[in-house]
């Protein structure tokens, strides 16, 4: 057993070294700057947006960790770090190339392994390397969201392996189909401004696959309340701030579209939060931090695919409906015995993302979206395209994610035992209490 493990490790190292050596050989020395790029505004804004999106990643850790037991805080932070590490490596090594490296129907190409041939300079607009950085942040963000659904039960090692495989088999194809000129782009009329399908629906349904495979947590863990409201608040506000770059940067330029995206994102977030608060006040009788932050995230998720394509009134409607829908989705999933979505990832990101994608199909203004008209402008193409894209995403991401975790469960223990769960992953897996 030990010898086999050592041999396996050795083989991995040899393969890794071989890949690095080959790719270094392929690296072409980057040419000197191609003249002076006039568009330093766009370059700056997308750099800032990339940083803002990355700031959402610790935001997710705080947002989720604060809503769980105190015995899971370190575990959530560790898993978020895994998402940052694994997705960064995977994206720069192979993910970007698979997603944006070509016009293949299913997948890109392997031409840009280790970012070879992706240049940091461009004659105008932003360079491809900057685009790759910005997109890489989205990949990290998606992975971090997924881990909220299956929190408090999947083992650390299983998370590492799952994300490594998932980034290549699920995230890269999804990004390719929607943004990289693949399946959806070629056969359907689809609009996804900042990742409603690729980020939110994909994360939500992947979370559901993991939750269904690993099963619910034990009652004690499930019934425990949010351990730190201030931390959850801080995380949610970091998400909100970061989201202005997430949506605002997705036009890939510092122009009017970026301004519009930021404005409608604010409007939708405000409406989502207040509509959630209103419904919760009517149904439950009182409102607090946890409800309002979930509402703001729901509004932001809803506007994500539509951000660049709608006006302020439509965005307010989209946000308000997202808040209400997600509130009822949370209530519905909380009542399901088997469906223990720890942090309502599907109810908020999944349902909010689906509504956002459909709403884009209804409200897209042709003048803003480059001629693609929504339902209210009398065109059915986009509306139908959006629905097909949503269904395709749901089926593909669920099946692949379930298959990945099923395969992993054959070679390793993916779930913590009930005893370990009760003591908490902070101690069992990491040996680090978050609090003394």
């Amino acid at each position: 057993m030990e010898t086999a493990k050592r041999l396996g490790l050795l083989a991995t190292v040899v393969v890794a070294v071989a890949i690095v050596a080959t790719t270094l050989g392929m690296q072409t020395a980057s040419a000197d700057s191609i003249g002076l790029n006039e568009d330093s505004g766009s370059i700056s804004w997308i750099m800032v947006s990339s940083v803002l999106v990355f700031a959402m990643v610790p935001g997710v850790a705080f947002f989720y960790g604060g809503m769980l037991r105190k015995q899971s805080m370190s575990s959530v932070m560790t898993q978020t770090l895994v998402a940052s590490g694994v997705m960064t490596i995977s994206w720069f090594v192979v993910g970007y190339s698979l997603a944006f490296g070509g016009d293949g129907l299913i997948i890109g190409s392997l031409d840009n392994l280790f970012m070879s041939g992706v240049m940091e300079d461009a004659p105008s607009g932003i360079s491809e390397l900057e685009f790759a950085l910005f997109q890489g942040m989205f990949a990290i963000m998606t992975a971090a969201i997924v881990l909220g659904a299956c929190a408090e039960r999947v083992r650390y090692t299983a998370v590492v392996w799952f994300l490594a495989i998932w980034s290549i088999l699920v995230y890269a194809p999804m990004a390719h189909w929607v943004w990289g000129g693949g399946l959806f782009d070629q056969f359907l009329t689809v609009l996804d401004f900042a990742g409603g399908t690729v980020v939110h629906i994909c994360a939500g349904i992947t979370g559901i696959a993991l939750v269904l495979f690993t099963g619910p947590r034990s009652d004690r863990v499930r019934q425990s309340r949010a351990h730190n409201i201030p931390i959850a608040f801080l995380g949610a506000m970091m998400l909100w701030v970061g989201w202005l770059g997430f949506n605002g940067g997705s036009g890939l330029a510092a122009d009017g579209t970026a301004v519009r995206a930021a404005v409608v994102s604010m409007a939708a977030a405000g409406c989502g939060m207040m509509s959630w608060a209103f419904v919760q006040y009517m149904v439950v009788g009182r409102v607090g931090v946890l409800g309002m932050i979930a509402g703001s995230v729901a509004g932001l998720v809803g506007i994500t695919p539509a951000a660049g394509y709608v006006g302020v009134p439509e965005s307010m409607f989209i946000g308000a409906v997202a808040g209400m829908l997600c509130f009822y989705a949370v209530r519905y999933t909380k009542g399901r015995e088997k469906l223990d979505d720890a942090l309502d990832v599907f109810a908020v990101h999944g349902v909010g993302g689906i509504w956002g994608a459909i709403a884009t199909g209804i409200f897209a203004v042709p003048a803003l979206s480059g001629g693609t008209a929504g339902l209210i402008y009398g065109s059915f193409d986009l509306f139908i395209g959006q629905i097909v894209a949503v269904l395709g995403t749901l089926v593909f991401c669920f099946t692949m994610s379930y298959a990945i975790i099923w395969c992993l469960s054959k070679v390793m223990r993916v779930r913590v035992t009930e005893e370990e769960e009760l003591v908490g992953q902070d101690i069992i897996e990491h040996g680090e209490n978050a609090y003394m």
């Binding site: 015995q71 004690r220 019934q223 425990s224 005893e419 009760l422 101690i427």
Partner: protein, 111 residues
Amino acid sequence: MKLITAVIRPEKCQAVKDALRDIGVNGMTITHVFGRGSQAGIKFVTRAGDIIVDELEKTKIETVVDDEIVDKAIDAIVSAAQTGKPGDGRLIVTPVERFVRIRQDSESPKE
């Protein structure tokens, strides 16, 4: 009067509260505590060796009851908190020397 101190599984807290309410015991003090029993914690096996967790999460319920319902209260707590597996906890009954209701400044057991 007797002081009942029960150290139970946290997930059984609601069941114990309900069982005590059914026999008319409403007043109690609930504390989240950590400790270990006769197994001296739980041993877990990791890649690099064993780890022993000897501070396990429990809930402590303290309530003062009249002598005549002590047995009923003990039965209620035990049957509500029992799973049969190690870690179900302990229940201690201690005599109460004096008992004062602060609002009325009286030692009478009745309101």
